[in-house]
Symmetry: C2
Subunit: 145 residues, 2 copies
């Protein structure tokens, strides 16, 4: 086995901590928690997701997903609409306020990263991007199995 794998694992875990729910100090942006933000981002990327699809995407039970959507809806970031083809399913849609929030948070983190990486050469930045995409594909592929 490649001896670097465990180094990779360690770095990855530390980085995950930084960008996860605790690293960002429990709140992402105003009144959005990290999980709420992740759910909203899913809706943003792929509009009209059902409750369960969100739950599956984020490893929550369907009742957990219901609760997350509840909060998102209470705060005005998303709305539930009924599917036209199947009366049981809810299509979750993002509101304008929700889109705003996503953009704002995205901007915030990007600025943060930009600053953190200001000493790194553009070439290296490009390399980081490629490497992370390889890594992400690798774990997502494994997830899918």
């Amino acid at each position: 086995m490649n001896k670097y794998i465990s180094d990779i694992y360690n770095s990855l875990q530390e980085i995950a901590w930084h960008f996860g729910s605790h690293g960002v100090n429990g709140e992402c942006c105003g009144d959005l928690s990290f999980v709420e933000y992740m759910a909203l981002k899913k809706v943003y990327e792929k509009n009209e997701l059902s409750v369960q699809e969100i739950g599956n995407a984020l490893n929550f039970t369907k009742s957990g997903a219901t609760r997350i959507i509840d909060r998102l809806e209470d705060k005005g970031y998303a709305v539930r609409e009924h599917s036209l083809t199947d009366g049981r399913v809810c299509c979750i849609a993002i509101t304008d306020k929700g889109k705003e929030a996503i953009k704002e948070i995205s901007q915030k983190y990007t600025t943060y990263l930009e600053d953190a990486l200001k000493e790194v050469s553009p070439l290296k930045i490009n390399e980081i991007k490629d490497i992370l995409e390889i890594l992400l594909r690798a774990v997502q592929q494994k997830e899918a199995i």
Copy 2:
């Protein structure tokens, strides 16, 4: 601004989710939660940490840290010892069972990663390791400010 930064941000966030508390399904290994594991890992890496040092390292309040140590102690992974130089501080030490658990979890994730990256060339693996270290240093440096 480098246009790849936001790609990096996106990948990073997805990866963080995978390796964070939700990705690993709420439990790391047996009865350890992700935060408990992170705390234990800190103690493992740098023995004899105080309660507050653990709290600071992981972005918890001191009472939050107390509770985490409580759980770790209840489960037999760590012990509280009194500092010889200052009667107020607790030195948290890892037990043999704790060391075992850390090794086991480490092994588990390493195996997972090894499998996820089995199609990636050794050269690329090496590159991944370097890149992640650059990234980690960058965010840790920023944290320190």
